[in-house]
């Protein structure tokens, strides 16, 4: 069964790029443009096998989203990867403390992305 991945990023370009890459690799992709939208998706029945979230977003940023996701029933254990840039090492660690599984470094290489997903999502 195809795994579902929720991508959260305020940049439509980034969403489009990651989404097309994932879809080409057989994943089902849901998108949200900020933390609030992502939470609403989760609350309204989207059950992703992995969440990939940007850090800097309006309304609700990635770190806050992670905290909120972990507090949602049914999402205690879902793998979450943060989307960071090279200079955001501190944010990665903070994300991990708040419950993120790991991180991706922008710009994302397509093959790397799939490799990481296979590593954190059993059966992907």
């Amino acid at each position: 069964m195809a795994k579902t991945i929720l991508i959260v990023d305020d940049s439509a370009t980034m969403l489009m790029s990651v989404k097309s890459n994932l879809e080409m690799n057989g994943f089902k992709v849901e998108t949200a443009s900020d933390g609030v939208q992502a939470l609403n998706k989760l609350k309204s029945g989207t059950k992703p096998d992995l969440i990939i979230t940007d850090i800097n977003m309006p309304n609700m940023g990635g770190l806050e989203l992670i905290q909120n996701v972990r507090a949602l029933p049914g999402f205690r254990f879902v793998p979450i990867l943060t989307l960071t840039t090279e200079s955001q090492a501190a944010k990665r660690d903070e994300g991990k403390k708040l419950g993120a599984t790991g991180w991706l470094v922008k710009p994302i290489d397509g093959a790397d992305l799939i490799k990481v997903i296979k590593q954190v999502v059993p059966g992907a």
Partner: protein, 928 residues
Amino acid sequence: MNPLLQQFLSEARDFLQGIGEKLMQLEKAPTDASLMTELFRYVHTLKGNSGLFEFPEMTRVLHAGEDLLDAVRNGRVRYSQELADRLLDAMDFVGMLCDEIEQNGAIGAVYANDSARLGESLRKLNVSAHHPVEDKANHSDNPVETTENLTSAPARPETAIPVEPPPAALADIPEALRMKAYAIAQAGTPLCWLVYTPDEQCFFQGQDPFFLARQTPEFLWGGIVSREDWPKLAEMDAYRCLLDFHLLTSAPHTTLDEHFRYVADQIKIQPLSPLSFIIPVGDTNGGPVYEDFVGDALEFLETGNFGGLERAALTMLELSSPDLWFSSALRWLLLVLEHDPDNRPVLSGIVESLRNLDQPEWLDLQSQWQDQTVLTPTIPAAVSIESTETALPSGIVSLSSIDDFVLSLLAIQRQILLLPITESWQLGRIKSVAATLQGCLKAIGEFDQLASLAFAAEQSLVQSAAVPLLSWLDEQFHMPGKMAVQPLGSQSIEPSKPAETVETQPAKTAVAHEISTTADIDGEIKFGRRAEDVTAVGAKSLKVDQAKIDRLMNLIGEMVVSKNALPYLAGRAEAVFGVRDLSREIKAQYAVINRIAEEMQDAIMQVRMMPVSFVFQRFPRLVRDTARKLGKDINLIMEGEDTEADKNIIESLGDPLIHIVRNSLDHGFELPEIRRAIGKPMVGTLIIRATQESDRVIIEIIDDGKGIDPEVIKRKAYEKGILDEMALERISDQEAVNLVFAPGFSTADVISDLSGRGVGMDVVKTAIEKVNGAISLVSEKGKGTKIQLSLPLSMAVTNVMIIESDGQLFGIPMDSVVETVRVPRADIRMIKHSLATVLRGRIVPLKPINTLLEISAPPLANDDDELAVLVVRLGEESVGLLVDDFRETVDIILKPMSGVLAQISAYAGSALLGDGSVLMVLNIKEMF
């Protein structure tokens, strides 16, 4: 263009717009943290997006901008106007690159230098953060640590590995597997023992340590043990991870680091010597029986009789039970004989162990093994900084023994030292460089040089100059050629770098040429675009393709027209075919279709509605730049930015508004000193306000400048021959002020470079009237000026009157029609070669429409010999058009003329009629 790139460009323009706005807002509130956060986010995201493509010129500038803003955000650098200026310039450049990409699909090589300069100009402001690596490098106790990411895993500390005893758990590995591992290791593939101790809370980080362990690259063996005794099931917490994973793998260290990078703090990797695997296991019974064998075996070894040893061991093995410890040791002996026969200490070690069935002691041998491996350390797989290959002169320290990572670290230190030191606090750089160099020396084992480094560093600190440390570095490593790997340092200090490569290439475009020749790192960098042009390109991008909406518009236009055929059909059904019921049904259906069509039309029109902010958004930048150039201080207030109007109206508003605003800035506002002298606030206020009044959008541009002096206008108008002496005395002040709209009138004494585009207010007026708008101006000398534009909400539906002339139908927009009258031919006079008639006591000039359209036929009169006169408004005057006949008025959707027809100004456009014919709609104002 691929959709992703398209998306990128469209979004990039939004971000650039947003960045400009935030910078403007920050000028007013430089300490507003949330504005700063937003601004950073825009630049950050834009940079991230640009990284998806191969646009290094763009990414470099954005990266520098991001770093700078990050420093501002964290209080390391202060926000300043200069900073805003440079950022705005940088964003202009990025915007221009977007245009370039849009046109050519790529960024021309000519932009590389500008990109470097701009990046540098931003970095110069960011004195506190030179390079992320620098901060890391300060940890001198761990000099080979680097930023972790997918490609560059942390390098392990290679130095001074304490000799660790092999892990006891190795004995848990089945002997067959250990023997295989020994063979692999002996053949030269280093093996690792990895202990993975997941965090107790790791499940709540979405981790599955078992899954991660299972995927270990080059996995040979794995075991799972509990960290503590298992609690009773009734008290167990399934989600507190108590598992430890033991792994045997032949993967290189760096590969393992990468695989476990998310849990780097939870793994311990220990390199294993082949000897570690030699652990005989089994039943230790029956020891002394083998005394003889030990004696013989040692003798074989001493005499180098390996064949004899092997045969003896094989024989013993056949005689012994395989489960015995002794048999296990024999099997190892045979294995070592096979793979490493020359290693006598190991062989004799195993033999000796048979004496009392104790585990052979390998520690000494292992430390030898470790020393060997340390001499050929593994180089981190990916070092982000490349080093160039040059032949090296022999230095004090042999470079070949230093790995690339240390080299790149040294290069970076050198470049940090090259940065100018102007402030005393910058000496901190020297300290950190010294600390890093100290770490490097330790890492490469050059302990002897530590003293000379300390001396050089001290000299540098005392002299407040980098020179002593720099010369120590160059002398010590003797590799200036190899050092210059990254353009980190200030270019002014590295004159040897080729600065101008552009000059030799033919400039791609005029714009590009301008950039390459006028750009100057310390001066202003301009990109041949004015502030007000910044959004002009972005203005073309709707999120929905414009053509699609236009098509919808055309279709609904046809729909509206086609549906009008139904009443005709109903009439025919009744009149021609005599089916009254059918006629009624058609009419009922028509009512439904009519309603839907109208709603649809309304809905489509809504889609075309855009907020005036689309035009307003460029003003903060325009006003800021212009005011600064003029040395004026102006506070811009914009109101009603979300007022909406049809896209065409909004777009037509751009140029006229810019002109009005510039006029106001240039001629309206006084200089601050003058304002103070006459008791006005030093800061002028410019209000741009949009409101909606029924079906019109009203835009007001109000300044509190010096206003317009009617006397000056009158004098000018007289000088230019616009007014004669008579009129000069008669004219009211308001009428005089309105003369600024007269063609060929310009009030500026000196044509400035700002508003002196050769465009006067008359052009503004024409542009506004073209979209059925009106412009009015009120001004009070000394107090200020208010210009009001009134525009229709939508130009999509036009109410026109159809007239007939020479057998053709024409449409005249109803808003210019005053009345229709039939005038007896006898009442038409000839006054000064022109036709005229008197209507309600006023003389109305008459023009045959055929004449205006260059049709030779005379106007037709009706049976009573009356001529049809359509009185239209022409500015302040009324003019009668002689036509053949009047027809009905209709709502039409006006399609602007396209192609060559667009040049004919007499036509406003065309529309389709219910019977399918085309109606040409006249532009009355352009016909005279």
